[in-house]
Amino acid sequence: MSEAVAEKNYLNDPKGWKSWVFTLDHKRIGILYLASITAAFFLGGVFAVLIRLELLNPGQDLMGPDTYNQIFTLHGAVMIFLFIIPSIPAALGNFFLPLLIGAKDVAFPRLNLASYYIYVFGSMFAVYSIFTGAVDTGWTFYTPYSTETQTSVIPMTLGAFILGFSSIFTGLNFIVTIHKMRIPGMTWYKLPLFVWALYATAIIQVVATPVLGITLLLLIFERVFSVGIFNPDMGGDPVLFQHFFWFYSHPAVYIMILPGMGIISELIATFSHKKIFGYKAIAFSSLGIAFISFLVWGHHMFVSGQSELAAMIFSFLTFLVGIPSGIKVFNWITTLYKGQIHFDTPMLYALSFLFLFTIGGLTGIFLGALATDVHLHDTYFVVAHFHYVMMGGTVMAFLGGLHYWWPKMFGKMYNHFWSVIAMILVFVGFNVTFFSQFILGSQGMPRRYYNYLDQFQPLHAFSTIGSWILGAGFIIMAIYLIHSLFKGRKASDNPWGGLTFEWATGSPPPHHNFKVTPKMTHGPYDYDKVLVEQTDY
């Protein structure tokens, strides 16, 4: 390729490392986040592979029980606090929210940079705890175990506490940005659905995260000063911690999945070249989910000794929160109807999302129903269920978004063939790893077990093999993505023929996002009025 004078874009203008480290450009901050969460995902993934390797056979394979307990805790904590919560909003959201609403940046660029460095600072505590004896409490830090264990609980909880601020800052920034920075003519109902999803997510981030912060602080107080809030010997209540913890952590589940749902709306519309079906239903179901998600935390405690009445109410509300998610799935599928569907890699991820997320949602019904939850609680069934939602849902959506916007972010196209191979490996590997765990769980295999009875071995071995397939998929993905940065074909401005604003600027976009301020000439999904050829493939 002949590159005479490289065009100016946000990647090469301005130059120098300082321009990156102190950047206020939401795109660069998005890229910094992207690099960081990718590192976190890699770290969490290594832990996951080690867990599965240890579980290949009963008894000791490569590590002792204490090491195992630390590794599964780290896997959970890293994946949740360092990867999945910031993944879509802070990386892809940061980069694309202003572009999608035609703005030059987010409302508070300095706050945005601060949120990134707070994220780095919090992560350092988490990493520090890994080297100082690690934690072995599980990512849920249940008391009284977490107040008694000798491992370094404090650095990890402090890390999660600090990370919370990063999340709150991002949320605040997005709320104001969405309210104030839309270009003229972009009314609320003309917002791309990814923006709606980020909005609903931001509300939960701002409202719920402080509760986690307080809870973790109390835990630290308890460890350092033995104040006795959770300590039964001093009249405290260990179950109270669970209430506090889940009051944040259930809504946090939606911090993780809602942005993913937003991406799926974009992908399905673009690749079927069809106006999204039920725009308002999808938008409002995000808000509905955000609201009800605050009222269901007790479904994590059906066997913790809470009253039958409380259990009944929480069970009922849990079913209610399922309905809006179901509605979204039906809307997406109906969008395909009479579309012109093109199966590029991002779309393949969107379709696997539909497949896997549906399984994740339906298996949630088993856990929401009281009688079956008593049996399934704290077994591998739960492990499988939340991996179908978090990985089959959020991670698939994230990968879909990453492949969708990669050419926009870096101006380079990745190898089509290898991206499909990797996608198939990830899909197959995921199902092999986790579907087997549904059966393990309902057969009675408890979670967080270092060792297990012989009858569970075949399924455990099967699951471990799945983790290797999954790992292979991710390695291939890493290779072709990195390769594309250096050797990739130059991407056009609008490779997929999308109608949202990010496609109306250069790939990669210039420093101030748009050379000419975009105009609201059509809605984000007006594929019935506007025709833009797909320029790739």
Partner: protein, 315 residues
């Protein structure tokens, strides 16, 4: 046991409640399989039917269909309300303890279960023996962190919490052995905190109860000790063949010098062993952690004697 195979998803159900739970499980399984099949069919059918062929063209504006939207809101809502009631009903049945239930006291501690039959005065460790066809109520509490009492074959689970009683009941319907797990993460040996529930006939149960409440009469003291070494779960941490475990081996310790973690020393004699069993926290053997549970209140005088006698024989 004759036919005790479970289904693909569920292990064999050996309690009165298991049938109810499985009914709810299967109802959800079948309806969600149908819904899933419809979803997948929709995705695949549309994907094939409406795949892009030839040149890109405008697509129709289909963004609403009130009837359709009502249908896919109302039908799932009805279904989940049904599921909710089914689940709640079976749960109520689990929660309401029959009046005539036999009571057994359960203690969870790192990392074993102990069971106390208050009327007979018998205690066991990691093995709960119950008669068939009789409601059994478990009154549970923990000595340390939270544990959870889980018997998959009975479809029951309940957290066991320090400083508070939690309750659970069941009625076994089939003679045999069932796995018992700790389902709430509790540290190093969480996955070893497992045991058995042994369901026996009424007659066998009476005999067993009589035998285990006896104080080792008609048995030499050291033979009784050997039995206790297993039934009180000393063997989970202490070996008798010199091999290393969570605790020091019993082989040849009697009469030896031990060194504690503070550097002081003591000679292993009867009093030392007694103190080690009843107040293990007072001295910690060098190289080991302070994880031995106290057996204060769990062992009778004669049982302590028997254990000491037994340890003396291990040379």
């Amino acid at each position: 046991m004759d036919d005790t195979t479970g289904s693909l998803f569920m292990p064999f159900g050996g309690s009165t409640i298991a049938g109810d739970v499985d009914t709810v499980f299967n109802f959800i399984l079948y309806t969600s399989t149908i819904i899933f099949a419809l979803v997948v069919f929709g995705i695949i059918f549309f994907s094939i039917r409406y795949r892009r062929r030839g040149k890109l063209a405008l697509t129709p504006d289909i963004s609403h269909n009130t009837k359709l939207e009502i249908v896919w809101t109302v039908i799932p809502t009805i279904l989940v309300v049904i599921v909710f009631f089914m689940g709640f009903n079976a749960y109520l049945k689990m929660s309401v303890v029959p009046k005539d239930a036999m009571e057994i006291k359960v203690t969870g501690q790192k990392w074993f279960w102990s069971f106390e039959y208050p009327e007979a005065g018998a205690t066991t460790v990691n093995e709960l023996v119950v008669p068939i066809d009789k409601p059994v109520k478990l009154l549970m509490s923990s000595q340390d962190v939270i544990h959870s009492f889980f018997v998959p074959g009975f479809r029951i689970k309940q957290d066991v919490i320090p400083n508070r009683y939690t309750m659970i009941w069941f009625q076994a319907t089939k003679i045999g052995e069932y796995d018992l797990f700790c389902a709430e993460y509790c540290g190093t040996k969480h996955s070893e905190m497992i045991g058995k529930v042994k369901v026996v006939s009424e007659r066998e149960f009476e005999n067993w109860l009589e035998e285990s409440s006896m104080s080792g009469e008609g048995m030499s003291l050291s033979d009784f000790g050997a039995k206790l070494y297993i039934s009180k779960a000393c063997n989970t941490c202490h070996s008798i063949d010199g091999s290393a475990g969570n605790g020091p081996t019993f082989k040849g310790i009697f009469g030896k010098q031990v060194t504690f973690d503070d550097g002081s020393q003591a000679m292993v004699d009867e009093n030392y062993i007694r103190k080690s069993i009843l107040n293990p926290q007072t001295n910690i053997v060098a190289g080991y952690q302070n994880i031995m549970p106290t057996f204060q209140g769990l062992l009778k005088e004669r049982e302590v004697d028997a254990l000491i006698a037994y340890i003396k024989t291990l040379e």
